[in-house]
């Protein structure tokens, strides 16, 4: 089989200490949850957001989308943006929130995600290539 390069690259926003926010957040989580997150990220990396319909939903911030992951009775929302350096082949994980009664916890999760996106545009070292969760 001919091997084509992956079409999309996934990046993680890093905090002030240079640590991946998703990696940090995932620490201590059940294998069941980690598997569900990894599957969605694998799908996004391989197919982008066009083929699997509804993989990404919009938010009130134009450049921020959210990925839905449901596991162990809890809905998680991973806030993601295309790019923001190269919009044609990158996604960056900006923030992780919980969703309850259609509301995000923390309330300002989308705003924080948008601010993180701006921080990456200002300084590209505020992100690094996505590290597989384990």
């Amino acid at each position: 089989m001919i091997q084509f390069p992956r079409r999309w690259r996934l990046y993680d926003f890093v905090d002030n200490d240079g640590k991946s926010i998703i990696k940090k957040w995932m620490r201590g989580k059940d294998k069941d949850i980690i598997a569900r997150f990894n599957q969605k990220f694998d799908m996004l990396e391989r197919q982008g957001s066009d083929l699997p319909a509804g993989l990404l939903a919009g938010t009130k911030f134009k450049h921020v989308d959210k990925l839905r992951i449901f596991g162990k009775g809890v809905t998680w929302r991973v806030l993601i943006c295309k790019g923001p350096i190269s919009n044609d082949f990158e996604f960056t994980i900006l923030f992780i929130a919980q969703e309850k009664d259609r509301k995000l916890i923390p309330k300002d999760a989308e705003k924080q995600a948008d601010e993180n996106r701006s921080a990456i545009i200002t300084s590209s070292n505020r992100r690094r290539e996505h590290e597989r969760l384990n």
């Binding site: 294998k31 598997a35 569900r36 799908m43 391989r46 699997p52 839905r68 597989r132």
Partner: protein
């Protein structure tokens, strides 16, 4: 891609992990396949909904990669509306990795019955038999003496089929796959 498969081979050693990953993948694949089959047949969600006697909003829900509440009766209705069949069977874990590896639009497309080459009208074209008449022709071609078989070769270009028959068992699946690849 190799990296992903290697990672999954390790990660799947954990039972909870592999069941959760498979559940997510299977849900997304089913939803995506409904969308792909609908688009393959150039149907709008509304048109598919009418064929399946559902609401358009229901089709939209079923095509969402996050949908997980599948019912067999709904899938049967959709299969019929799309002219394909729904298969229910248990699979081994080893079969999942190639499915993940091959997941793309092309792998999800399936011909409806009328366009399925296996059921295409039996034709003898340029000395080659169509796949639709294989089982009967094979029985006929390889029965009787060699002379009798040679006499039949004016109807069917037998050399081609005999060669295949000698190479490997002529299961319908092999021949179907061969035809599809061609």
């Amino acid at each position: 891609m190799k990296d992903l498969i290697e990672a999954l081979r390790k990660e799947f050693q954990d039972e909870d992990y592999r069941y959760a990953y498979d559940e997510e993948f299977s849900n997304a694949r089913m939803a995506t396949q409904i969308k792909v089959l609908r688009e393959q047949q150039v149907l709008t969600q509304k048109e598919l909904a009418e064929k399946a006697e559902m609401k358009q909003s229901r089709i939209s829900e079923l095509e969402n990669a996050n949908y997980s509440m599948w019912s067999i009766s709904t899938l049967r209705r959709l299969a019929r509306a799309l002219g394909v069949r729904i298969a229910f069977q248990f699979e081994s874990w080893g079969e999942l990795l190639p499915e993940i590896e091959d997941f793309d639009r092309e792998s999800l497309e399936k011909p409806k019955f009328e366009k399925d080459s296996v059921f295409a009208e039996s034709k003898v074209k340029e000395g080659r038999a169509s796949v639709a008449c294989i089982p009967e022709q094979l029985k006929l071609m390889f029965s009787g003496s060699e002379d009798e078989q040679k006499q039949r070769s004016h109807v069917i270009s037998m050399g081609d089929w005999k060669e295949r028959h000698d190479e490997h068992p002529h299961s319908a699946k092999d021949l179907y796959n061969e035809k599809r690849r061609a």
